[in-house]
Symmetry: C2
Subunit: 245 residues, 2 copies
Amino acid sequence: MTYCVGILVREGLVMLGDTRTNAGLDNIATFRKLTVLEEPGERVIMLATAGNLSISQSVMTLLTEGIETEAGMRKTLMDVESMFEAAGLVGEAIRRVYGTYGEALQQQSMSFDVTFLIGGQIKDRRLRLFQVYAAGNFIEATQDTPYFQIGEHKYGKPILDRSISYEVELLDALKLALISMDSTLRSNLSVGLPVDVAACRRDELKAAVSYRIAPDEPYFRDLRERWSKALRQAHLAIPRPPWIE
Amino acid sequence: MTYCVGILVREGLVMLGDTRTNAGLDNIATFRKLTVLEEPGERVIMLATAGNLSISQSVMTLLTEGIETEAGMRKTLMDVESMFEAAGLVGEAIRRVYGTYGEALQQQSMSFDVTFLIGGQIKDRRLRLFQVYAAGNFIEATQDTPYFQIGEHKYGKPILDRSISYEVELLDALKLALISMDSTLRSNLSVGLPVDVAACRRDELKAAVSYRIAPDEPYFRDLRERWSKALRQAHLAIPRPPWIE
């Protein structure tokens, strides 16, 4: 399993991804699922992925080495001119991988399971966040619904549903994403540390952070402890129900 | 969908159930899923159910009208001598309903989907909590794992994972169950108010509360508001990450 989340706020964009993969409970490994592509001053693009690792790795390779165009050129995410084109290129790469492996996966009764988040900004274009599905189609985050989750999304959703809005500050959005990740880490063993974090501020065209949180990282450990303690205090502070003897 | 939770603590037992059923998003109704059977001073038994409504209603009818025994008698949950026997009777009722409808459901490509929570105390026997599966087999809550959830369990699990232990006071367990229900109500439209609440104190052999929370119930509305506010304050109080520019 996997948990990745992308949050678009007025101030910028945050993306988080865990690193645990598993082929059964007895076969667990660590693979990066969050990638930052950067050409400071020109573009910053973040990708997160969930689903079948062989599919997502093939898609990532196509996106970085280039997809052959009709003109015989190779187009990568460093070549696209807008985030809309970038999301389309992810979709195109997914369809190419489906073209190669789709039928064989079906023969093995494996589903073609892959989802991407792609967000970022290119030159003077808008900062945008997209979720790309297995058919290569995609949706965009809006001010009404400014975040997307992929993978094991349920455990970490309540805190986002309660607290995220487009007007939340970037660093608060990052803290909320970390709290959401913490809830997921606690409840689903197939989501695991390290956790990769990336964020950028609108119009800066570079990553404000691209960081790996290791299992013993002091800030995240402190955040988890503070959060647990605050929740305990919060429920203790709620009055007792009047309708019980 | 459904969300029910049962929590066994040293002081007693809490059970909560929502009331929304649906046959598709466009066909929603209200049905009680939490039932309290009581003979004060002798027994208090609480049942909660998730899954196919026609199956769970048939099981409940068998349990209250009686399952025919080999001796030609009818045995109900008011006749059993222990909670272990009660859980076994639920299992037996489920298997009887499977005997009647199992094959026909299969012919309609419907799964035989039903789960029960049953908890309570009979005379001088122990207060116990069980989860009964579709095959009639069951597991019991322990001091290590003192709660069970059935139905849509993921949204409401993080708060329980963080805060519930066997030593939590009964009224705090009840508040935590309500917070867990609130998270689920917010994130899954197929779980809905009213919410039924039941609790009993160990060795009192009667319900301490058996109450329906309507959509406009003031205590639950206040709890939801206080909780949201406390979470907002809690994440704002966490320091900002040191590894971002």
